[in-house]
Symmetry: C3
Subunit: 265 residues, 3 copies
């Protein structure tokens, strides 16, 4: 991938300002909305079953995050997902906490059985669980997975017929058409605060709203987001300050910074 | 309006510390509570139908925000609104996302039909929609409205028999007794982050808790809030840092700053 | 208490990284998660009745906060509490807003009747109300209580058979085995922003996850948290900046800082 590709997707986000509809969790809902806004796009959060179809019909991408799922929220996700599928806009599932409880696993598979998930994103143990590995997530934090993560991503991409994103020290993006990206941007400070994983999903959803090659969109989004984190961490390693600077550095991304820093292979 | 009027309402907020009950959305709920607290008042957020009547009975103002509405939330709003009406405390409706889905429009009208709304606040397309203009809001972001906004505000003020606030580059406040204020404080940085619109409603609700001329309260509140944003933007134009400074600058408001900067006509 | 005891509990949090399950309110849910994460532990927030038993089964402590309670949330708390009791992990109840509405009082007593609460935490009027004093809380803010707070804490500790924490200018911790701690760390800036009370509960819950003497855990947690607030307030007295620094100073706590500053009697 060339730096120009990454930058041009970011530019498209900034010029098209796509509406990104979220049905998400109550912990990081503000941060997810804010990162989309600061990328230059337009976030909307709505979860009433009576309106999610209409809201999705206005949107250019749908981000589903099961961080604080309930059966009502899952029902809303199915309604919104069906509209998104029909309209042909990307549906991203952040499998937040998959592997922690049977309820989360079950609902992920139920969503996947009911709607076409275009991109599924999680940390190593979340994705491993969806791929059938017997691993127990520690709440919403990743635990060590012994199997090869690239292999897990590619297998799940084939079985779900979608793009798979595993976030971590190295982010892995694989789709079912042999695309494979390894993104080495990012900083360990991201793991010190709550919300960076959920925001990653919102970033990918926003990039996918303007780029139909979803693996490319995901890799480009993670690259930009990771570069912003690197810039923020150069300014501070204090967690409260880092989070503020992360938003500032997303706002500040430009072609030059991306060119100098991008590490996608 | 004189600067002394604006400042004296702010002083009254700080000395009386009114309790401001919110039934609001899950995206900006923290920011709404925090801005009320930093103004010197006392925020409370409660939405269970079993307790909203009791909570409103303790309060000096009621702020309703439909940002992430559900039918349960609307039912709670009706209960709280009825108590507020009976008690004679101001009810403010932030018509967040009106015009985006039929459900939002319908619920705004249902609230207005069931309880007396004293102040309705929205961006240009939200208020236009409530006034009957055929405009489609982009999620929760404003779209261009071709009609004259002052005319729309005044018409809605008469038909709803209340005070109408349209926020934007210039904020417009109109009531049904010929009051009209145009507030030109504020900064375009406010549009770069999520939550500034919802916080504006909380600020107005807090000012209305201590000043029964609601148009005056709304204009004074928006003026103070806008001045704080101007001060914050002079310190930084980075979005994460700006938001932090916005709280600091609200805390820092004094008569001198208001006198120098207020732009209400 | 010696400073080495306080520090060693913090060190245990950082090395064991306990999973702390919260069923909490929508206002401060992010801050509660973030403070736990920055302490070095692992927060998880989940409230669906279908999964709270499984999530609690993975956890080392359970924090219940009724800030935006509903009957569904209370039902989830009972399920989670029963699992926590059976497993022998600490259950902390933050009686947020007790005394404001009959619904809150009733639900606190209902929880206490259904599950074993190990630690109950509140401000002076919240705890006074649970102890049977006729006091009316102002939303979620404390009002003056005329009775002796230590006496109230000790009485409630005996009647509920648990550890009682009253936060305020001086924090009081009492249990039913004659332990009594008065923690004089902290700063009045904590009262200027929303969320510091809820975060205190999360801090205590996190310390109790690794220290089975709950009164000691509570006092040590409040001491560390209060010291972080003092450090933050030395850097800034602006409320937005203070909050960011509070997280940074929690991250920065070490034995030396604790030794110099701890004020527990």
């Amino acid at each position: 991938m060339k730096e120009i590709q990454v930058y041009s997707i970011l530019e498209k986000v900034r010029s098209e300002k796509p509406l990104v509809h979220h049905i998400t969790n109550w912990v990081t809902i503000y941060d997810c909305a804010n990162i989309v806004k600061i990328l230059g796009a337009s976030p909307v959060m709505a979860h009433a079953q009576e309106e999610v179809a209409d809201m999705t019909a206005l949107a250019s991408a749908l981000v589903l995050n099961i961080g604080t799922l309930t059966t009502d929220i899952i029902a809303a996700m199915k309604i919104a997902g069906a509209v998104a599928n029909k309209k042909g806009i990307p549906v991203l599932l952040d499998a937040c906490g998959a592997g922690a409880t049977p309820f989360r696993d079950e609902k992920c598979f139920e969503l996947q059985g009911n709607i076409k998930i275009d991109i599924v994103k999680g940390n190593s143990s979340e994705i491993a669980r969806l791929a059938g590995v017997a691993v127990q997530t520690k709440g919403v934090d990743a635990v060590e997975v012994e199997q090869n993560l690239i292999h897990i991503a590619q297998e799940l991409a084939c079985s779900w017929n979608c793009t798979v994103v595993i976030t971590g020290r190295e982010d892995i993006v694989a789709d079912n058409k042999n695309a494979l990206y390894r993104v080495n941007n990012g900083h360990h400070m991201m793991a010190k605060i709550v919300g960076t994983g959920c925001m990653a999903a919102s970033v990918i959803g926003t990039f996918a709203a303007v780029e139909r090659d979803y693996a490319l969109a995901a890799a480009a989004g993670l690259c930009c987001y990771g570069i912003a984190a690197e810039c923020a961490a150069e300014k501070t390693q204090a967690p409260g300050a880092f989070k503020e600077r992360l938003f500032d550095c997303v706002d500040n991304l430009n072609r030059d910074i991306i060119e100098k820093r991008m590490r996608i292979s």
